[in-house]
Amino acid sequence: MNTFFLVIGIGLCVLVFFVLYRVVFGPGVFNRIAAISAIGTKTLVIILIMGIIYNRIDMFVDISMVYALLNFIGTLAAAKYLEIGGEK
């Protein structure tokens, strides 16, 4: 079962690198924020899978929760900042 979760985790890491293309080259700041939010969502699952592989999921689940929380608040703050900047 550990090998199966390792394969899933490697697949998610490859997907993160594909999304990183949109962060670097994406036209405009909004595409970049959407891509960063998507990377945060994938990282949450990667942290949980790392916890299963290391057999310490009771530790990693707390980190994953905080990551989800800060990803949400960061996205909201960026959207709010750009909304005010767009009003001119």
Binding site: D58, D62, M65, L69, L70, I73
Partner: protein
């Protein structure tokens, strides 16, 4: 100056989520010795919940709940708890922050006194971190004296 969002979806979801985020922050502070977390991390989550309230409900509505004077008092109280526990250990013939000497006051064994002492220090750290994070956010997002804006739009 932080305006409040005119979007009802974001405001409602933030209002629903803030109490649960704060309860989770208290859990992180209290379980600092067994799981990842502790005073600093729990304080950051507490501060993040108030920052979520600030960016969705605006400055005026949030400072009705927790005013800037209260934030300044909280940051001082946290440092006072931390240094107070340290000096208390000094007064009981121990080193600074030597919690096992607190067993005389708390009437427990020295091992339990260590556990309780570090919990007290973590509570103090979390107060200070929360207050300083909120005050930094308010300081970098407001440039002038914000008491003279009209209360309707902000």
């Amino acid at each position: 100056m932080i305006r409040k969002t005119d979007d009802i979806i974001i405001r409602t979801v933030a209002r629903i989520l803030v109490p649960f985020i704060q309860i989770y922050a208290l859990y992180v502070i209290m379980h600092g010795h067994y799981s990842p977390g502790g005073g600093f991390q729990g304080g950051v989550i507490l501060g993040a919940s108030i920052i979520l309230l600030l960016i969705t409900h605006g400055l005026v509505e949030t400072t009705k709940k927790i005013s800037e004077r209260a934030i300044a008092i909280f940051s001082s109280i946290g440092v006072f708890i931390y240094a107070g526990i340290g000096v208390l250990c000094l007064l009981l013939y121990g080193n600074f922050l030597d919690y096992s000497k607190l067993s005389v006051i708390l009437n427990v064994t020295p091992a339990e006194a260590r556990s309780m002492g570090i919990l007290g220090v973590e509570i103090g750290v979390s107060f200070t971190v929360m207050a300083i994070m909120i005050s930094i956010f308010i300081s970098i997002s407001t440039t002038e004296d914000h008491s003279k804006y009209d209360k309707e739009h902000y």
